[in-house]
């Protein structure tokens, strides 16, 4: 019997049931019969940050290999079985988790479970796909080697998180990928692919009892506990400094950032509002967009946002501007950050920023896959389904006093860790 633990509704669109399967696997479920499909999203805690020392890219490679043969089926047989029923199973890797998703027409949901179950319980990790996926990731690295955006991001992370797993490229390097052996992949599978730190969401044309059977079949036989290597907390470094990578391109691509607050910090939602006012949204609501793009025509895009990882929290942003005006662009960005720190937002900015953040939340829940993805992330952040309501309440509760105080706390003296790729003039 599956137990319906609780039900929480953000709107009529997202009534979340918390279910626990007969064998004790917990999942969040949204029943939705409008379209005859089922989306399943899940995440195992522990991602690229758990790569073995000197073997950056192991978790990324593992994510690329979990759909490359399982149980009795080798890579081609597995992919063919997916194609025969148009079942989608894929895996992805982030810093702190290994994610997976399955999408299927509801009439094929049993077959989909039969394929996903061995993919995570008995991945083959055959030598042929290992070699092939290694080549594919390597080709991606070579393709991005001189891509300004990619290069600027890598440079920024490396200087901001020096000597820490977060500073290493999640996809590894050509050298580190070459070092990864099958034993590294099987070892990481044993450590991460478990029931120990697993979050699951299901959205679609399926009821609680069938969903419970589904998660049992797929997940219940996984090992009980994950085994994580210790990862140190790290404060973003390199702040106040700039690193320039010479590349013969007409534009300078800029990445900047500084420390922010942890996800559970009481000021976190105020920081979300402040950062949105600085560089969020889709256009004129953002100060950087107004000052950099609209008033001066310096760039096509400019943005800022917050990231919270398990062991670091930071504000970061970027733009691309022609080399001759790179200094001007960076100066404008710095001036806006410092102004927010010293004076806070205007009443108008605060009110409009809050309205946007509250109103746009529903747009994150308009497809099954997006709903499932949101629900897994809410779980990973450590919240229950009540967060679906609480999130907007907390944004609405941000006062001007909060905004000013938190802008000051967030932006301080305005100093940034900066990376620039191109031939910037004056920097």
């Amino acid at each position: 019997m599956s137990a319906l633990v609780s039900q929480q509704t953000v709107s009529r669109a997202v009534p979340v049931q918390q279910i626990v399967s007969p064998r004790g696997v917990a999942a969040w479920l949204v029943e939705d019969y409008a379209v005859p499909l089922v989306s399943l999203e899940f995440a195992f805690k522990g991602g690229a940050a758990q790569d073995p020392p000197g073997k950056a890219g192991t978790a990324t490679m593992l994510a690329g290999l979990l759909d490359e043969g399982a149980g009795e089926l080798d890579s081609q047989a597995f992919q063919r079985a997916l194609d025969e029923k148009a079942i989608e199973i894929s895996f992805n890797c982030d810093r702190d988790y290994l994610g997976g998703r399955m999408r299927t027409l509801v009439r094929n949901v049993d077959r989909a479970a039969q394929l996903l179950r061995p993919a995570i319980n008995a991945p083959r990790l055959d030598e042929e796909p290992i070699a092939r996926v290694r080549e594919q990731i390597s080709a991606g690295l070579r393709r991005d080697a001189n891509d300004p955006g990619s290069l600027a991001g890598r440079t920024w992370r490396a200087r901001t998180f020096a000597n820490h797993p977060y500073g290493a490229p999640a996809r590894g390097t050509l050298e580190s990928l070459a070092m990864i052996e099958r034993a590294d992949l099987t070892g990481l599978t044993r450590r991460l692919v478990t029931r120990g730190a697993l979050h699951i969401a299901i959205v679609g044309a399926i009821d609680a009892s069938r969903a419970a059977k589904l998660v049992d079949e797929i997940f219940a036989d996984l090992p009980r506990e994950s085994s994580f290597a210790a990862v140190a907390d790290i404060a973003p470094g390199g702040v106040g400094g700039i690193e320039i990578v010479d590349l013969d391109v007409p534009q300078s691509t800029i990445r900047f950032g500084r420390a922010s607050f942890r996800r559970l910090d009481p000021d976190y939602m105020s920081a979300v509002v402040i950062t949105h006012i600085l560089g969020g949204g889709t256009g004129l609501s953002s100060r950087l967009f107004r000052e950099v793009r609209e008033k001066r025509g310096l760039a096509y895009s400019v943005d800022a946002s917050l990231s919270t990882l398990d062991h670091a929290a930071f504000m970061h942003g970027g733009t691309s501007t022609k080399n001759e005006r790179a200094k001007e662009s960076l100066d404008v960005i710095k001036a806006e950050i410092l102004d927010l720190s010293n004076s806070g937002p205007t009443e108008d900015e605060l009110e409009k920023g809050k309205k946007y953040l509250v109103g746009s939340y529903a747009l994150r829940f308009d497809t099954s896959a997006k709903i499932a993805g949101q629900l897994v992330h809410i779980q990973m952040d450590g919240f229950g389904p009540e967060w679906l309501i609480e999130r907007n309440r907390q944004i609405e509760a941000v006062t001007m006093d909060d905004a000013k105080r938190v802008a000051r706390r967030l932006f301080g003296d305005g100093s940034l860790s900066v990376a620039v790729v191109g031939r910037p003039a004056g920097l």
Binding site: A13, G297, S320, K322, L363, A369
Partner: protein, 446 residues
């Protein structure tokens, strides 16, 4: 399925005989001023996607003015006499909505996503800027700089993007699909306020537009709102007709190469000139869709199997049919060579694999897998109101009708092996193709 839609509000695309779960009942009608309207109900979330598509894109840029369709798309955010610059965007942001716009070869589209109760407000603003745009010279110059930065970011700094432009301009020797949507830099630099206004007055009129509303809405309500907003716009010109120069029959196999010192991963692509859903004979475009999937749709596809798994000359390889186009379009193959394999060797290996395919014919199981996947994609698309809105908008803007979209899965189901092979024999002809090589810097080639 929603059965509450009043049938007298327009031609319904669904039919009583359709099987369960064939998706929402989509309604299509025209206002008195010629504006076409499509309503796609999706009642799962209280949001609405509001899009206006204009039947003009980069292929309608006047000679010497490449990029004007895209530049005007930017300028459409600069305010009107009734609503000065920034007001529309501010209102959207305050309502928690999202907005954007995009320009293609054959269309320019603007969209907002908002809570459904704000649909009427979106319509007021969008209708206002259909004919009320206010452009001043002080707006033009900085926005032109923004577009040049956009081009530098997405094209000029990316050798792969430059190769793509070179392939297209070699493939279309005469037809305007050969020019990049964003335009060539030297022509963007010369675009003026007068150019923008001339283009605007020619194309931005209700008979040239398609309103697509998807979300938690009813057709009757959309019609009422549309009539009180868009319905009041007087058609200001004759409905523009799109007469582009036709591409002559291609006779020369072409290879273009971009060498760039920034390239560390060479790449290969080939574009075949091919009919679109709009220009093809009945069933031919569907056969090309299935053909592209059999050749290069994922890991079980023919080219991946032969070139990546067996011969190991490609790290990855795939194919894509760009069927949504008003005029003759492209079937596109792309791949990355395995280290140590030259692009010339990969090119020859692709040709060998294609020749064998043409000789051996279509594998029955591969045909079934491709059809299953494509038909399922149409069901998966129902999960996203934004995707459905785009699908209908792009189809109507490229000369198709509602039934063409509605019946697409059935027509894919009907594709037979013989028609796939016939399409392959006719169109996989190197005289109709341009092959593109992206290579590291090579002094000898410079």
């Amino acid at each position: 399925m929603d059965s509450s839609l009043p049938q007298d509000h327009g031609r319904s695309v669904g039919s009583a005989s359709q099987a369960q779960h064939e998706g929402p009942e989509i309604v299509n009608f025209r206002l008195g001023n010629g504006l076409e309207v499509v309503v796609i109900p999706d009642h799962r979330a209280p949001v609405a996607t509001h899009m206006v598509w204009y039947r003009n894109g980069s292929a309608d840029d006047p000679p010497g003015k490449s990029g004007i369709a895209h530049f005007l798309e930017h300028l459409m955010f600069k305010g009107t006499d009734a609503h000065p610059q920034g007001e529309f965007s501010r209102v959207i942001a305050e309502l928690g909505g999202q907005e954007n716009a995009f320009t293609g070869n054959d269309y320019t589209a603007y969209f907002q996503r908002v809570a459904k109760q704000h649909l009427g407000v979106m319509m007021e603003f969008e209708a206002d800027r259909m004919t009320g745009l206010a452009l001043t010279d002080d707006i033009i110059a900085p926005e032109r700089d923004v577009v040049l930065e956009e081009r530098r970011m997405h094209c000029d700094a990316d050798p792969g993007a430059l190769l793509g432009e070179a392939v297209q301009s070699a493939l279309f020797t005469h037809h305007p699909y050969g020019a990049p949507i964003i335009g060539w830099s030297h022509e963007i630099e010369g675009l003026t306020r007068a150019d923008a206004l001339a283009y605007y007055e020619r194309f931005y009129t209700p008979q040239n537009a398609i309103l697509v509303v998807a979300g938690d809405v009813e057709a009757g309500e959309v019609r009422r709102l549309a009539e009180t907003t868009y319905g009041k716009i007087k058609p200001r010109v004759e409905a523009p007709s799109r007469q582009r120069p036709k591409e002559p029959p291609p006779v020369a196999r072409r290879t273009v190469t971009v060498n760039d010192e920034k390239v560390e991963q060479p790449s290969w692509q080939r574009c075949y000139l091919a009919p679109s859903y709009h220009t093809a004979a009945p069933g031919e475009a569907e056969a090309l869709e299935v053909l592209a999937h059999i050749l290069g749709g994922g890991q079980t596809s023919l080219l991946y199997r032969v070139l990546t798994l067996e011969e190991k000359v490609a790290v990855t390889i795939g194919a894509h049919y760009m069927g949504s186009a008003l005029d003759e379009t492209r079937l596109f193959l792309y791949g990355l060579p395995t280290p140590g394999v030259s692009l010339e060797e990969l090119d020859a290996a692709v040709d060998r694999a294609l020749a064998r395919f043409l000789a051996e014919g279509v594998d029955a199981e591969a045909l079934e897998r491709a059809k299953t996947r494509l038909v399922a994609d149409a069901i998966y698309a129902q999960d996203s109101q934004a995707m459905l809105a785009r699908w209908y908008g792009a189809s109507l803007a490229t000369g198709l009708g509602m039934d063409d979209v509605r019946q697409w899965p059935a027509r894919i189901e009907a594709v037979e092996a013989a028609s796939v092979l016939a399409a392959a024999k006719k169109h996989l002809d190197r005289r109709k193709a341009v092959t593109g090589f992206l290579k590291p810097d090579d002094q000898a080639a410079a």
